[in-house]
Amino acid sequence: MNTAALAAPTKRDYSLIGRDSRLAVESGLAAAQWYHTDIPRKQMKELMKRSDGPAMRDTAIWLGSMVILAGLGVYFWGTWLCVPFFLAYGVLYGSASDSRWHECGHGTAFKTRWMNDVVYQIACFMIMRNPVTWRWSHTRHHTDTVIVGRDPEIAVMRPPDLLRVVLNFFGILDVWHASGDLVRNTLGNVSAEEKTFIPEQEQPRVVQIARIWAAIYAVTIALSIHTGSIMPLVLIGLPRLYGAWHHVLTGLLQHGGLADNVTDHRLNSRTVLMNPVSRFIYWNMNYHVEHHMFPMVPYHALPQLHAMIKHDLPAANPSILHGYREMLPAFLRQLRNEDYFIKRELPPTAKPYREEFHNEPVATAAE
């Protein structure tokens, strides 16, 4: 692979109402035209076609497994035997909800709209993301993927805060911030940054949902106090902490260590081949370049899409471990030079990167 770095570091302003936000608009990086691989219309229509079957099956497995695992955890409560059941339950609650929130937010998981909406609401609650706020933030993420000052969902900003990354494997900072947002929204406050991407007519719903969730958490906490047991919270709320690790493990690979401020998802997103269990939990979001290029393709068609366009993409990382071996050294180098990033090589069959749009003034180095 080739790597590239600027000679002198520059400071990035990730605020959505700050300097780089303004610069992105002025330079045309905001809401830009992005590269996408050419696919004949007939094939694209086939790929985009919706169906309920795969998501109904996966949702039944997902929620059914949670009920069984929670039941076994409760049954063995008070003994060490409950631990593995709750650990598995936690991953389905605190990690699988991330991909369900995501896919149903796109409206592509199910053909039937209300099914998308129901699973979306459930998953949002589990992952502690306000369904209104995050629908709009994710819209912006797709418009301005990893554009500094525009994308509200950049997981690892530069220079990387590695302590934050580690803490988030246990959901600590995410839950801290989500709790703060919940309280603030419950009190009727929608922040200035939230207002940059949530239309005015949608903002009251942010508050409404926050109040419903606050009531659910209040009841759960009251139940814990009343029963003198932490069990209600182990079932509702805490799994967002102890089960978060898998969604962070897979999610960091989406864009970690890659370029920012470019308009080609091949430069700022990563596809990683994963084991079937992780792919179930992650709902095929390991095909992340493909997802960003064609967000209307349902998760269950992404392997097919990958096979169709891989000639035009950098080679997929063959495993999670391989992805981390690529990404972590980049994080470490970004600590010294935040402009460093991994520039992944395209196969000879691919259309080249549009250097006129991505002409970083770089000193290119091979690693």
């Binding site: 409206g107 209104v132 797709h142 209307m296």
Partner: protein
């Protein structure tokens, strides 16, 4: 005064599909419904400037390819987040196998 412009032929669009049509510096989307009726709207999503002709037609809905904003292409009605502004529609007629759109 009506101004009918030829956009395409009957066979240019598959059933339950959409096609882009550019005219006089403007872009439109021409739809063929599952019932073989034709409709026309502005070609760009009202949320962001994305060509709807790259999107997915399902019954009477066109879904934007970028953010899945949904419109009823027969009425132009925005069907919910992330689209809030309706789509402009145009009269369409089919004559001698040609699809005509009325502009102006």
């Amino acid at each position: 005064m009506s101004n009918w412009i030829e956009a395409c032929t009957f066979d240019d669009i598959d059933e339950e599909d959409v096609m882009r049509f550019d005219h006089a510096g403007r872009t439109f989307a021409i739809y063929r419904s599952p019932d073989d009726e034709f409709f026309a709207t502005d070609g760009l999503c009202t949320h962001e400037h994305i060509h709807l002709a790259d999107g997915l037609v399902m019954d009477e809905i066109i879904e934007c390819p970028k953010h899945n904003g949904r419109f009823n292409y027969k009425t132009g009605e925005a069907k919910g987040a992330p689209v809030c502004v309706n789509l402009k529609t145009y009269p369409v007629k089919v004559e001698a196998g040609k699809v005509l759109i009325q502009l102006g």
